[in-house]
């Protein structure tokens, strides 16, 4: 992080450091875990990242994180219905996991607090590079979450929904999921609540050989909450991961995505929609490492910007020296519907192999007037026609998921957002 000394700590930095002192005796962990926590809080003592740190250039966390709520042990979050009926639901209510999750055959749930206490979660707490503010915040304070294991060859018929629900205060959780060789699963990561919380959430996914996973992040925090999240995955040989990210709320949101292909034939798809409204800031930052030969990826991000909302997409693809025959394509398209909104896109390709196909593109558009005319010529009034077209712009990405139950569930979330912000 910042090696130079900050002139003065911000109230948020002071609050985090003080909170760590107060919480220390309550935080679970063996010696190894507690050492990582100490390192992490040292990182925060050096100061939150500013725009001078390259990866935080468009999201000046030090300036944007202006208040930090106290931990609130009395906050009561309630479990909610999953987005797909019949899902296996594991909830984290205000940072606390459930002792008993009814698991389908071949799936096991373990409370992360137990894995912190016995030290088996320690290795996962290491920071990602030198600017890992979210990782540091989470490592310092994480108290619970789930470890989920899906055994080799298990094909789940219904999604597993991991709910992280807040009702104010601070929550710092971690979701670690291992999907065994040849297993198939849909995993929903639900991030929502009704408080003005500060939350950090780190998800770690490991896909075994030939595993196929669709992971949906559905983030619908209220416009008072700060949500700092990471999703980290390793994709093994011939394994396929589709990550769908929907940001539809939050005052200050940063969703980091760090993915690495670790076996030949690995395939990664990132599909994201950012629905931005009000006076909010939402940042999706991806670092994808094509670390072995013959791996593929596509990334499509669609943004709708209204009000005074600001959005950021940073997409970095690193093709390692031996990762020949990599095929990677990235696109970021923004529909800018307000004069006061803004969206910043920064694609980066860093290629050390010579036999690869890599491309990226970014567009910012308004509503297509030909399309608008067509719909109006069928009697749809201008407001409704615009609504249909804006929804269509993002629905296109959802429909590509090709699973009727998921598409329906996500479109319902989309309708909710449009009903509230149309």
């Amino acid at each position: 992080m910042n090696m130079h000394t900050q002139p003065q700590r911000t109230p948020a930095e002071t609050a985090l450091i003080d909170a760590f002192g107060d919480r220390l005796s309550l935080l679970p962990g063996d010696g190894a875990v507690m050492l990582k926590r100490d390192d992490a809080i040292e990182t925060i003592k050096h100061g939150l990242p500013t725009r001078r740190v390259e990866s935080w250039h468009y999201t000046d966390l030090r300036r944007l994180l202006n208040t930090v709520p106290d931990f609130d042990p009395a906050a009561m979050a309630k479990a909610i219905a999953p987005i797909v009926d019949g899902s296996t639901v594991a909830s984290i209510l205000n940072g606390k996991s459930d002792a008993k999750v009814p698991a389908p055959e071949g799936v096991s749930f373990q409370r992360l607090s137990e894995k912190l206490i016995d030290g088996s979660a320690a290795a996962g707490l290491d920071p990602y590079g030198s600017d890992d503010a979210i990782g540091a915040l989470n490592t310092a304070f994480v108290a619970d979450g789930y470890f989920v294991d899906i055994a080799d060859g298990v094909e789940l018929e219904k999604p597993v929904e991991l709910q992280n629900l807040q009702a104010g205060g601070q929550t710092h959780v971690r979701l670690a999921v291992r999907v065994g060789a040849g297993a198939k699963a849909v995993i929903v990561e639900r991030q929502t609540g009704d408080g003005a919380a500060l939350g950090s959430s780190v998800s770690q996914l490991v896909l075994g050989e030939g595993a196929e996973v669709t992971w949906l992040i559905v983030q619908e925090q209220p416009e008072t909450a700060t949500h700092l999240a990471q999703f980290k995955a390793h994709i093994g040989k011939n394994a396929k991961l589709t990550l769908f990210v929907m940001n539809a709320g939050g005052r200050l949101v940063r969703q980091e995505i760090m993915v690495r292909t670790t076996g030949e034939g690995a395939d990664f798809k990132l599909r994201g929609i950012n629905l931005l409204a009000g006076d909010t800031h939402t940042d999706v930052t991806m670092v994808l490492d094509h670390a072995v030969p013959h791996t593929t990826s596509t990334e499509v991000i669609r943004n709708v910007v209204t009000g005074k909302a600001r959005g950021v997409f940073q997409g970095r693809i690193n093709v390692h020296q031996y990762a020949q025959k990599t095929n990677a394509k990235m696109a970021c398209n923004t529909l800018l519907l307000s004069d006061d909104g803004e969206f910043s896109t920064k694609p980066e390709l860093e290629i050390f192999a010579d036999d690869v196909i890599c491309g990226h593109g970014a567009t910012v558009t308004e509503i297509d007037h030909n399309h608008l005319f067509y719909l109006m010529a069928r009697g749809v009034d201008e407001k409704s026609a615009r609504g249909l077209l804006v929804k269509a712009f993002v629905a296109e990405v959802i429909e590509e998921l090709d699973d009727e139950a998921i598409v329906e569930a996500l479109e319902a979330r989309l309708d909710d957002w449009f009903a509230a912000h149309g």
Binding site: H369, F373, Y374, L375, A377, R378, L388, E396, E399
Partner: protein, 251 residues
């Protein structure tokens, strides 16, 4: 039903005048064919009737059932009963065809003060209309016009026309891109809609379509004006002798 009086119109962007003093009257129940060489203003006329903002009327008026429509936006014109079957229907990714049809049909009903259609009744109507045009329902599960062939798009336009039950139907080169079988299906679809209280403006390049949709009147458009009107024999004459004779006569 439709009365176009000394209409002048130009392209907003560059001011080019396309329609230059056009007069045309179409009565209820009438099928009027508009023919003319390329660049005569046929498609422009259809867009102006539908209310496309790229064109500006500088003189004259368009009366529909005695009322000027110039101040109405495309949606208001559509809900008052004007329908344009596009020459090149737009593909709109992400808009589900069925949802679009439901919204459009209910907008028509709303304008007439009727309740929205119940889902089973809506599905029944769409299925019947699709069957009559030999359209596969699977097509309608796709986003609007996306991946449709040229012929499928034209059928989809006629399907919409059937479902929306307009009073003034403007068909812009509906025959272009259709093979002979599709042309027959589309024409049958149009003929089935002919009614005493409904008028058609059939814009076409060729006599071919008019063998299937037999017009009551034929009007030749040239340089933004109707230069000759007649009955269906005029179309045959044009087919045999080309536009040169008619144009020469007018000049």
């Amino acid at each position: 039903m439709l009365e176009i009086k000394n209409l002048h119109a130009r392209i907003v962007d560059d001011g080019t005048e396309i329609i230059r003093g056009l007069n045309l009257t179409v009565k209820a129940g009438e099928v009027a064919a508009i023919m003319g060489p390329n660049g005569s203003g046929k498609s422009t006329l259809s867009y102006i009737l539908a209310g496309r903002e790229d064109y500006e009327v500088t003189e004259g008026d368009i009366l529909y059932n005695g009322q000027s429509i110039l101040e109405m936006d495309p949606a208001e014109r559509a809900t008052s009963g004007i329908f344009l079957a596009f020459q090149y229907p737009m593909e709109i990714p992400g808009v589900a065809t069925m949802e679009f049809l439901k919204v459009a049909m209910n907008e028509q009903r709303k304008a007439r003060g009727e309740e929205p259609l119940k889902i089973p009744e809506f599905l029944k109507r769409v299925k019947e209309a699709a069957a009559s045009l030999s359209m596969d329902m699977a097509m309608l599960k796709r986003p609007l016009n996306v991946g449709f062939s040229g012929g499928e798009k034209k059928r989809a336009e006629i399907l919409q026309m059937k479902l929306l039950e307009p009073k003034l139907c403007v068909l812009d080169e509906t025959d272009s891109g259709l093979d002979i079988d599709a042309l027959k299906i589309v024409s049958d679809g149009v003929n089935a809609l002919r009614a005493p209280d409904r008028a058609f403006l059939v814009i076409t390049h060729y006599q071919r379509l008019l063998e299937h949709i037999v017009p009551d009147t034929v009007h030749v458009l040239y340089k933004g004006q109707v230069i000759k009107s007649g009955d269906k024999s005029l179309a045959l004459d044009l087919e045999a002798n080309g536009y040169a004779g008619v144009i020469g006569e007018a000049a």
